[in-house]
């Protein structure tokens, strides 16, 4: 896996959020991160679906952590972006940067 490296926009955001969160990259935090910083409403189903898909593509990995009292004994998982994932992010960012060349004026925040 790892060769079909085109990232969807939402996948892109999820990967970035996971990277931003480093040690605290739990699903709930990831969702808050995207909603807070990217100003997007995130449907829970979409997030979990995307997390699963990214894991299947080999861009994400997760570790199982201790449970907390609120979770009633159910463990939680912390996500990390794999090397492939970082590579995919780079490719996407690069593509965007290439395509944006010369459009700085038009794309600049007003």
């Amino acid at each position: 896996m790892g060769s079909n490296t085109f990232l969807g926009e939402f996948e892109h955001l999820v990967l970035l959020a996971v990277m931003q969160l480093t040690d605290d990259a739990h699903a709930i935090r990831v969702r808050e991160q995207i909603e807070g910083r990217a100003d997007r409403r995130v449907a829970r189903g979409a997030l979990y679906g995307t997390l699963t898909r990214l894991q299947e593509k080999g861009f994400l990995d997760w570790q199982v952590e201790e449970s907390t009292p609120e979770r009633g004994g159910i463990p939680r998982r912390r996500f990390t972006v794999t090397a492939d994932g970082v590579e995919a992010l780079r490719a996407s960012q690069r593509a965007i940067a290439n395509l944006s060349e010369g459009l700085e004026q038009a794309l600049r925040d007003q």
Binding site: A43, R44, G45, Y48, G49, E56, R76
Partner: protein, 899 residues
């Protein structure tokens, strides 16, 4: 933050776990949800948290976006759950799927839901009424043990007789069936005038015998009730207040118990207050006092003076029949022992108290229930049809699912779940509609309906409504389910969706639905028509008196002030003199009882013979109603004097004989020649009346009665204290009312004047019950007609859609638009005609059940039946014309090319 014990809804969680099981991620997702749920719970909004949680679970378990989290449905592994959980999960799955498929066709969902909501709404409203009035036990402990007991005269076929105090005492002592027997006067013994604070007010009192409160097992809200000790010497002027009089007359004062109030110039001690809802023997009861305070001189306690209505409480386990036999043997003993007074009183009749109280409204209420039941069935038929159309549209879906291995049973279960879902949702909306309708219903119901204050949505109503709703769901879910069960699913696969190929059995089913709808609507329409016609007939009945510019009011002589013999006559004579002097007054008189009012039960009937005519065999003498009137009454009421003369000043106690004026019917029935001067003799007493005049017939108790023999006796000769003053005025009665009141107060400043009403309003309110029933049934019939029109439209429209191709071919072969329209309409009309035929027969049966509500129109009235059928046929034609127009617009080229 303190740790929160917050387990989210277990069923939702189980379901989600099941949905997400294959991905192996269920635990993590559920853990995240729990965490957020706990945070939400910690903010204190429990309901919000639950709703939020369920919403999230639903979306996670079903949304397209979270599909990677779920297993592919066809490769389902062995479920880890077993038994009940498995069943629950599969039902939840069905419900979930049902939801989704309903959301996919919102028009269908809303139409079906509203239809069922409408049906359940009107039904729960009417059922609330039936439940509270007819079904719920009376608000007394073990109310089913309470019975009304009557003295019966078997040879005269009279079974609702009143009882005298000595007989009551013997019944009490000699029976072995009752724990207690009590009584109260069945006639208006007169209320009291309450003086003290502010203006004198008339207060409705009930005199009650020993054991009244204990028989009913009614406990006071405050203080105590009347005990046997209060009855001991006839001097205990104690009073128990009703809740409403405590509130309205005494401002709900907490110290009212123990205080002394003045009733008709006599001090009474208030000993207790009854709880709200205690309203026996009448709903306007305001105060209860011991019967024993009426002295012998007021009502002699003689065996032949029968004025008590009797209520008993059966011993546990004793049947009505056994009790009846028991008391009848007591009555027979008394008949032998006291032949002078009791010879003919050889039996006792009984009715459960509840039945006696509600007998009057039973038929109208059940008729209404039948009407809304019909509406509900029509709703069912409509929804069944909607479901059929839908099932047909889904033929391909079912075919695919069946090809992929879904069993018939599974598909049928799915269909039934869907209809149950609609039923439950519709039922809930229906309850909301019902709640609003109940309030409207109570507001427009005639005041005579007993127990109206108890009408409301209680748990029984809710349970019945939801059950009905579910049963309805099963009923209409069954039709399409059956057609799936029997149908050839593979055809669906071959033909694709909706391209004709309508199965014959489905078509038959749809025809049956139309037939059933039409038949039901026709029954309702004919019922409504009959009720409307009889209301019309009733309103056209001449009451026998003039209604214009005439006002009536109850004026009771203040007996507590009138001690001398003759005072009561003098009181009314003075009142009449004063009132007649008012400039706006044309004529005035007093009468008792006032025709067409509930007071008419105060009438006093007697059996008679005419002097000089051969006597009728004993026990078969004709009866006449004795009424009391003053001079000027006939003039005031516009009752024509046909022969002889009106009462005048000569007709008083010095006249030496009692003089009477009879009505025309009496004269025609019992006198060959001129009745004037003849004598009417009461059977079994020395009472004799000399006829001095004949007046026109007046309807007495209701407009639909057959006029009885009536004798008016002059009030100066046969005196009663409670009378109705009738005044004909020059202008509007309301303008003269003030002057009339002043004139009465000139005679007695404390005088209460009650129940002021114009005669047209009086006639109007005498038909209130009929009007209520007629209006509601008409409303329901209209509703049913509309629903049926929609139903017929739906069926025909669908059939046109199914036969697009056939119509296209016909038109290609030269059929003109008119031919096609005729053909389309004709299709539906065969069913409609069959429905009308069945409906006519059913209506004849149903009309017999409501014949007691009809007046002046036969239950098989041809005009009503014909116009009902005609209107329905026109509506049906109109309903199928719309799809017919669509059929004409079909372009044959396009339809045929589609193949």
């Amino acid at each position: 933050m303190k740790p929160h014990r917050s387990v989210p809804p277990a069923l939702a969680e189980t379901w989600l776990r099941h949905r997400l099981a294959p991905s192996g991620q269920a635990d993590f997702v559920i853990g995240d949800l729990r965490e957020e749920y706990a945070a939400l719970r910690a903010s204190g909004r429990r309901l919000l948290a639950t709703v939020w949680y369920c919403g999230q679970v639903f979306r996670l378990g079903s949304s397209r976006a979270s599909r990677p989290l779920r297993r592919p449905p066809l490769l389902s592994p062995q479920s880890p759950h077993s038994g009940l959980v498995e069943v629950l999960i599969s039902i939840l799955k069905d419900v979930h799927f049902g939801f989704r498929s309903l959301l996919k066709s919102p028009v269908f969902a809303v139409a079906a839901l509203l239809t069922i909501a409408l049906g359940i709404g009107v039904n729960s409203a009417i059922f609330s009424m039936v439940n509270a009035v007819l079904l719920q036990p009376l608000p007394y402990p073990d109310a089913n043990e309470l019975v009304r007991i009557y003295a019966a005269y078997p040879e005269r076929d009279l079974r609702r007789g009143t009882v005298s105090p000595p007989d009551l005492a013997d019944w009490r002592e000699q029976n072995s069936s009752f724990t207690e027997i009590t009584a109260f006067p069945n006639v208006d013994v007169g209320g009291f005038v309450l003086t003290g604070d502010g203006e004198p007010q008339r207060i409705a009192a009930h005199y009650v015998a020993e054991g009244f409160f204990t028989t009913l097992a009614a406990a006071p809200l405050d203080g105590r009730t009347i005990t046997d000790a209060d009855h001991a010497d006839g001097e205990n002027r104690v009073a128990v207040l009703s809740f409403s009089s405590w509130q309205n007359r005494f401002g709900g004062r907490s110290d009212v118990v123990g205080s002394t109030i003045t009733l008709s110039d006599t001090p009474f001690e208030v000993i207790g207050v009854m709880p709200p809802g205690f309203e026996y023997p009448s709903k306007d009861a305001e105060i209860w006092v011991p019967l024993s305070i009426i002295p012998e001189s007021g009502i002699p306690r003689q065996r032949y003076i029968r004025f008590l209505a009797v209520v008993g409480r059966l011993r546990p386990g004793v049947t009505l029949e056994a009790a009846q036999a028991d008391l009848t043997s007591v009555a027979q003993r008394l008949a032998t022992e006291y032949p002078d007074s009791n010879e003919r009183l050889t039996a006792v009749a009984m009715l459960p108290l509840q039945q006696q109280l509600t007998a009057q409204v039973r038929t109208p209420l059940l008729a209404l229930l039948g009407a809304v039941g019909g509406v509900l069935l029509i709703c069912c038929a409509n929804i069944a049809n909607l479901m059929l159309v839908r099932a047909q549209g889904r033929a391909r879906e079912f075919a695919v699912r069946s090809a992929l291995g879904a069993g018939r049973a599974r598909l049928v279960r799915q269909l039934i779940t869907e209809s149950a879902l609609i039923a439950v949702l519709g039922g809930l909306v229906g309850l909301v509609i019902g709640r609003a309708s109940v309030q409207a219903l109570v507001a427009v119901a005639p005041a005579e309906v007993p127990r109206l204050s108890e009408v409301g949505m209680d748990p029984v109503v809710v349970v019945v409504a939801m059950t009905t709703s579910l049963l309805t769901g099963l009923l209409f879910g069954l039709a399409p389910a059956l057609s799936v069960w029997r149908g050839d699913l593979q055809t669906g696969l071959r033909l694709g969706s909706g391209a004709g190929g309508e199965s014959r059995s489905r078509n038959r089913l749809r025809g049956a639905l139309v037939i059933a709808e039409v038949a039901l609507v026709l029954v309702l329409a004919i019922g409504a028509g009959l009720l409307l016609r009889s209301l019309d007939e009733l309103l056209n009945v001449e009451p026998g008196f003039a209604m214009e510019r005439t006002v009536a009011m109850r004026v009771a002589a203040p007996s507590y002030k009138l001690t001398e013999s003759g005072d009561t006559e003098r009181f009314f004579t003075e009142v009449l003199t004063e009132v007649r002097q008012q400039p706006g007054v044309l004529a005035a008189g007093v009468v008792r009882p006032m025709p067409l009012t509930p007071d008419t039960f105060q009438g006093e009937d007697f059996r008679f013979g005419v002097a000089g005519q051969p006597a009728a065999p004993e026990g078969q003498e004709p009866a006449a109603a004795l009424r009391f009137a003053s001079d000027g009454l006939f003039d005031a009421m516009g009752i024509p004097l046909v022969a002889g003369r009106d009462f005048d000043l000569r007709d008083d106690r010095d006249a030496g004989e009692v003089r009477g004026i009879i009505n025309e019917s009496f004269a025609a029935r019992h006198f060959d020649g001129d009745p004037i001067g003849q004598r009417i003799q009461a059977v079994g007493s020395s009472f004799e009346i000399a006829v001095i005049g004949v007046v026109g017939d007046v309807k007495q108790s209701s407009l639909d009665e057959e006029v009885a023999n009536v004798v008016y006796a002059p009030h100066k000769q046969v005196t009663r204290s409670g009378m109705t003053l009738v005044v004909r005025t020059r202008g509007l009665p309301s303008e003269a009312q003030r002057a009339i009141n002043e004139a009465i107060w000139a005679v007695n400043p404390d005088q209460t004047i009650e129940g002021v009403t114009t005669l047209d309003a009086l006639v109007e309110s005498s038909v209130a019950e009929q009007r209520f029933a007629a209006r509601l049934v008409t409303l329901f019939a209209g509703l049913a007609m509309t629903l049926a029109a929609i139903g017929i439209y739906g069926v025909v429209a669908n059939s046109v859609a199914q036969r697009n191709r056939e119509i296209g071919i016909r038109m290609a072969l030269g059929a003109r638009g008119a031919d096609v329209a005729r053909w389309v309409v004709g299709q539906g009309m065969v069913w409609v005609a069959a429905g009308i035929a069945i409906g006519l027969v059913a209506a004849a049966g149903a009309a017999r059940l409501i014949s007691s509500l009809l007046y002046g129109v036969a239950p098989t009235d041809l005009v009503t039946y014909a116009s009902g059928a005609g209107v329905l046929a026109i509506v049906a034609v109109l309903a199928s014309l719309i799809p017919a127009r669509r059929a004409i617009a079909i372009d044959p080229v396009k339809t045929l090319r589609a193949d």
